[in-house]
Amino acid sequence: MEKWECTACGYIYDPEKGDVENGISPGTAFENLPDDWVCPQCGVGKEFFQKMG
């Protein structure tokens, strides 16, 4: 599963770790995050993320 980076602040979403603090369990692919999920660092939406690599 690929990592995604927030283009606004640089936060990296790592599917292996998920975003436990906001109810996203480890192993959740970026594509499967809920539509209203936001960057846990700066708060922008999914549309600001880009696939890394």
């Binding site: 980076e5 283009t7 606004a8 602040c9 640089g10 209203d36 936001v38 960057c39 660092q41 700066c42 708060g43 922008v44 939406g45 549309e47 600001f48 880009q50 696939k51 890394m52 690599g53």
Partner: protein, 400 residues
């Protein structure tokens, strides 16, 4: 201990969040001029474009401050800092005492001295209220000029174009994104943007906004006139320094801080768009983020040094990835520039070397290697041995 934070933008919000993470007992008060809760500014563009609904502009749920035990005072700006008393004045003569003050009151949109800039129909986009005003005016005014061909100007043009209006971007320089791109990269970007039916006018200084009370057009320095009924000015931002100045804190272009992000008074720290560190004013999210975390840690008693943030911008405009890292328009013979362009695929890449060390890069139309190249620029890696192959499609970026 009580910390007062001025401002609820990114720096104010992230520093309050960090303070709470570090200390559960700390009393945290945020005073803000803003009437809305924290929203990341990039969301404003998507909101204007109609890509996200109003409720999704905000970063955190409505009860976030309550859960974090952070007292937020909206529409309640600090009016005066009384540094020697460790107090701020809020509301009418009401004073609040602090142990530490964190100034994060940001920056304001800069409007160049253009004749007629006070007319109805002239906007800037900095706050959520600005976005509301733009959308309202846009309903009955469909000929828009965006003054400024920088990152924000192009993003605004894209958003307004998405609303079906006619948009023309007016740029003073001879190229778009003058800070991030060189001439060659910018001309490739321009061609892509024009495909989106956004007009671009370069080398044009706006001298006057025409019309009686409302915008009817623009007149440029060379005498040319164009009909337009709405103007959005995107000519950059300037740090808000008047509050700090009145408190006799050291200021220049921004509020001056040392490497611990401390202002010229030991109980006052600062972070975000309002500060000037090592002669630099950043105005970018990653820098504000780093600063907010460090300033908050130092208030708690750590001794963390802020070492600056390398500006890195990847934006996606008209479906085109544009990355610009570090120094991209070097001046002087000691620099070496190597570039490659493929017009058909809309790809342009350039690296800038200083004594063989990588100090800057532009990547347009591709993301391949962007992460690695950005890191290599940050580390000023010596890439002499790869300089011939680095720009090729098949280069193994894991070598960096």
């Amino acid at each position: 201990m009580r910390v007062i934070i001025i401002g609820n933008g990114l720096a104010g919000t992230i520093s309050s969040k960090t303070l709470r993470e570090l200390d559960q007992k700390l009393e945290i008060d945020v005073f803000a001029e803003e009437k809305h809760h924290y929203y990341p500014r990039p969301n404003l563009i998507e909101f204007v474009a109609g890509n996200i609904p109003q409720e999704r502009i905000f970063a955190f749920p409505g009860n976030w401050h309550q859960r974090q035990k952070i007292s937020i005072h909206l529409e309640n700006p600090v009016r005066r800092i009384l540094a020697s008393f460790q107090e701020v004045e809020v509301g009418e003569g009401k004073r609040e005492k602090y142990d530490f003050l964190l100034i994060a009151n940001g920056s304001s949109a800069f409007v160049p001295p253009i004749k007629g800039a006070e007319k109805a129909g002239v906007f800037t986009l900095r706050t959520l209220d600005d976005a509301f005003h733009i959308l309202e005016y846009l309903e009955n005014h469909r000929q828009v000029a965006v003054i400024g061909g920088g990152l924000l100007g192009l993003e605004i043009a894209r958003a307004i174009r998405a609303k079906g209006a006619d948009v023309e971007v007016i740029e003073f320089f001879d190229r778009l994104l003058p800070r991030q791109l060189d001439v060659q990269g910018a001309s490739l970007l321009k061609a892509q943007i024009e495909k989106m039916k956004i007009k671009i006018r370069l080398k044009s200084a706006t001298e006057e906004i025409l019309g009686q009370k409302e915008v009817k057009g623009l007149r440029f320095k060379d005498g040319t006139q164009v009909k337009r009924d709405m103007v959005v000015v995107a000519a950059g931002v300037r740090p808000n320094t008047s509050l700090a100045k009145e408190a006799s804190l050291e200021t220049d272009r921004g509020l001056i801080v040392n490497e611990y992000l401390q202002a010229s008074h030991p109980k006052i720290f600062a972070a975000g768009d309002c500060i000037q560190h090592s002669g630099r004013v950043y105005g970018i999210i990653p820098a504000s983020f780093d600063q907010a975390r460090i300033a908050a840690s130092n208030i708690i008693g750590e001794q963390r040094k802020y070492r600056g943030t390398v500006p890195s911008n990847t934006l996606k405009i008209v479906g085109l990835y544009v990355t610009s890292v570090g120094l991209v328009n070097p001046e002087g013979e000691e620099f070496e520039e190597i570039q490659i362009e493929n017009k058909e695929d809309g790809i342009y890449k350039k690296i800038v070397l200083h004594n063989g060390n990588l100090v800057g890069a532009i990547w347009i139309g591709t993301k391949k290697g962007v992460t690695e190249i950005s890191r290599a620029v940050t580390e000023k890696q010596n890439v002499t041995k790869w300089k011939e192959s680095l720009l090729k499609d098949n280069f193994d970026f894991s070598l960096l």
